[in-house]
């Protein structure tokens, strides 16, 4: 055996377990799920009825799906923007040396470390209209009129969930941007300061462009996170009140496990997959060009 093929086999040997496991537990189930979307299946026996693209036709005219997708887009556009903005701002704040930034550094990852389930329960307590600390604080400040039923009122339920979504997610992005900020050579900032560029101008003209690749990666993560949000919504509002916080995955869960409509649920999964891929691809394409490059 030639040295190169021996080396190839050596590499393959190390890759094989991971690839096999990935194939067995990720690729195959996903392929099977996509196949199930062409059937009507109750999910308690092997009996399935082939219905072709009926599930997708039904999906196309399903008002609940459109409503759910709209809510996912709210998570993306409102929550995502807040996450990016807050992430950048806080990463910038913890970047410096000194006691303030060092203290913040120890704290910002806490929400991210807590599991989504615990975050949901924690915020359910915070939002509780009777004994939650949010309404408690508002009442203590004399703002009784603002002490609403956050999760039970149709117009406040989704915004309340978005706040929790941002709170939980932002830590990861702070970490991502912090790492990105560290890659910017100190000399560049020193040169800028010597030239008299400071503050916001320095941030916009130097920091942001040099962070562009990191930001693009972050945006793709945000797209995935916002379109796949489940645990938070399921635990805090179950998609209510009156489907005002329904998301694609909570609707999928309902169709599969409450309605025993596994064919339709997997069609939802396929749609979710396609939408995530499209949006992620869109983000990658739209933000490929660094706006500062053109001027270079």
């Amino acid at each position: 055996m030639s040295p190169s093929s021996r080396r190839g086999l050596f590499v393959a040997g190390f890759l094989a377990p991971a690839v096999v496991l990935y194939g067995m537990f990720v690729v195959w189930p996903v392929a099977e799920a996509f196949a199930f979307s062409l059937y009507r299946w109750r999910g308690v026996s092997e009996h399935r009825t082939f219905v072709g693209l009926d599930n997708f036709v039904r999906l196309g005219s399903d008002p609940v799906f459109r409503q759910a997708l709209g809510h996912n887009l709210v998570f993306l556009l409102v929550g995502g923007t807040a996450i990016m903005a807050l992430g950048l701002a806080i990463a910038h704040a913890v970047h410096g040396s000194g006691r303030g930034p060092r203290a913040l550094r120890g704290v910002y990852l806490f929400p991210q470390i807590i599991s989504g389930v615990v975050v949901a329960i924690l915020w359910m307590f915070i939002y509780n209209p009777s004994f939650g600390i949010l309404n408690g604080s508002l009442k203590a400040l004399g703002l009784d009129a603002l002490a609403l039923d956050w999760l039970g009122t149709p117009r406040t339920a989704l915004p309340a969930l978005v706040v929790t979504f941002v709170w939980h997610g932002v830590g990861f992005y702070i970490m991502l941007f912090s790492a990105g900020l560290r890659t910017i050579p100190v000399e560049v900032h020193e040169a800028a300061l010597l030239d008299g560029v400071s503050g916001l101008r320095r941030f916009v003209s130097i920091t942001l462009p040099m962070l562009w690749a990191v930001m693009r990666v972050a945006m793709v993560y945000v797209v995935i996170g916002a379109l796949n949000v489940f645990a938070l919504v399921f635990l805090m509002t179950v998609g209510g009140p009156d489907r005002r916080t329904e998301t694609m995955l909570t609707y999928l869960y309902e169709q599969a496990f409450k309605n025993s409509e596994f064919g339709y649920a997997t069609a939802l999964a396929v749609a979710n997959f396609v939408i995530v891929m499209l949006l992620a691809g869109l983000v990658m394409a739209l933000f490929r060009r660094n706006p500062q490059d053109a001027r270079a």
Partner: protein, 439 residues
């Protein structure tokens, strides 16, 4: 390169092999039983002890009892793979009826015609007929009840005695009482807003039945066209709106989970709450040591309503015998043992819930179970919100509509129209098997 091609071939073969699941299992030895149970507020210790007793009385049998709070999630793949347990109580999270449609559970009529565990006669006659009826479809018995629950309203006897209040029996008494409760700084009525079926079952349906009689709700469940927006349903929705407008529902209840709303009741911030007879067991850890005694009463009836004032809402959590279970005989025998009057009375005493076995309410009952037992004995007609299990999409639509009604997003007219539209969709769908209320 050769090694690369060999590698790819290896991966493809392995992935293909992994796609072939193991079908079926090895045959069980005679005398072995696999029992899967939902472990909730009542635990499964009672059943584990019963298994030990049965094994002692029948040497050579081995009964494995297992369960957890999400056992239905594990049961689905077992049913699909054809290796279900021999006897199972899947719990509230299981969508039961597909098991019947797909013939994954056995029809029990012949078994019910057999003798009970000890004694003579038919096993069927040891059950309360109104509860057996809930497990029937197309003239056959598919599921069996064990314990059952009743649904109604609850109040705190101590709180009411302190203020000199009486639980309301009629609508006019309700309005008068709520005014007094509100004046005392307590929320008159709270409810589990996050799960609107509590409010549906606690307020809307009882008042529709009170207004027009049981036929009103039977027609709804039988998907009779127009039933869901009948004048009685509309009137019930209007009564709910009236209470909303008078501010008699607790502010913030709409977002409350079942435990949150029930906490409001238990801590005395709300005076009345709709719930089933599991309330005590569910709130066991949070009950105040003294100065609190929960008491059951039927939802207040509408003055001059046509409905029977003793009408009572009941519910069961079914047990089934899977078709592909390995030991049907032993499963039936063990379940017959569990439903002997002795074991049924023991369950009442240990777990504080009523049983579907006749004569079990002679057992020593905890104080909160006295009123429900009396209500069941006195009930001339019973009903159950079966449409939630028969037609889950209708059940969800009804919940969504109820939520809209109680947040003011839908008027009573819009509310009943939404219900009717959802019922029409189910009616028109040929893929959804249709049921009839069994009386």
């Amino acid at each position: 390169m050769r090694s690369y091609r060999a590698f790819v071939a290896l991966v493809v073969v392995l992935v293909a092999l992994s796609a072939c699941g193991r079908r079926g299992g090895s045959p069980a030895r005679e005398g072995e039983l696999d029992v899967a149970l939902f472990r909730g507020g009542y635990g499964i210790d009672f059943f584990e002890n019963a298994a030990r007793e049965y094994e002692a009385a029948h040497p050579g049998t081995r009964i494995k009892v297992w369960g957890n709070p999400r056992v239905w999630e594990q049961l689905r793949p077992l049913f699909v793979a054809g290796t279900p347990p021999d006897l199972t109580w899947p719990g509230w999270g299981m969508d039961y009826w597909p098991l019947v449609y797909e013939k994954k559970v056995v029809a029990l009529d012949d078994l019910l015609d057999g003798a009970p565990y000890n004694g003579s006669g038919k096993w069927r006659d040891t059950f309360e007929p109104s509860l057996l009826a809930l497990g029937q479809y197309e003239g056959k018995q598919w599921m069996l009840p064990y314990f059952f629950s009743l649904n109604g309203w609850w109040y705190d006897k101590v709180l009411f005695a302190h203020h000199g209040w009486q639980p309301p029996r009629t609508w006019s008494e309700l309005l008068a009482l709520c005014a007094k409760i509100k004046a005392a700084g307590i929320a008159p009525i709270t409810y589990q807003g996050k799960y609107p079926y509590y409010a549906l079952g606690g307020f809307l349906i009882p008042w529709a039945i009170s207004h027009g009689g049981m036929q009103v709700f039977d027609d709804c469940q039988n998907l009779v066209p127009g039933a869901w927006k009948s004048p009685s349903m509309l009137e019930a929705a209007r009564r709910v709106k009236q209470l909303m407008d008078l501010g008699y529902f607790q502010k913030g209840a709409n977002g409350m989970s079942h435990t949150e709303a029930q906490m409001e009741f238990v801590t005395g911030r709300a005076a009345m709450v709709p719930c089933g007879t599991w309330l005590h067991s569910e709130m066991r850890e949070q009950l105040p040591k003294d100065k609190f005694q929960m008491e059951f009463f039927l939802p207040p009836v509408l003055d001059g309503g046509k409905g029977d004032p003793t009408a009572l809402a009941i519910g069961i959590e079914p047990w089934v015998i899977p078709t592909e279970g390995k030991n049907r005989e032993l499963a039936v025998s063990f379940y017959k043992y569990l439903t002997t009057p002795k074991k049924a009375r023991q369950f009442v005493e240990e777990k504080g819930t009523l049983m579907a076995v006749r004569g079990s309410d002679e057992a020593r009952k905890p104080p909160y179970l006295e009123a429900p037992a009396a209500a069941f004995r006195a009930a001339r007609v019973t009903y159950s919100t079966e449409y939630i299990q028969w037609y889950p999409s209708l059940g969800k639509a009804a919940q969504d509509a109820m939520s809209a009604l109680m947040t003011g997003e839908a008027t009573p007219e819009q509310f009943v129209q939404r219900l009717e539209d959802a019922a029409e969709k189910v009616r028109k769908d040929p893929n959804i098997p249709k049921h009839q209320v069994v009386r």
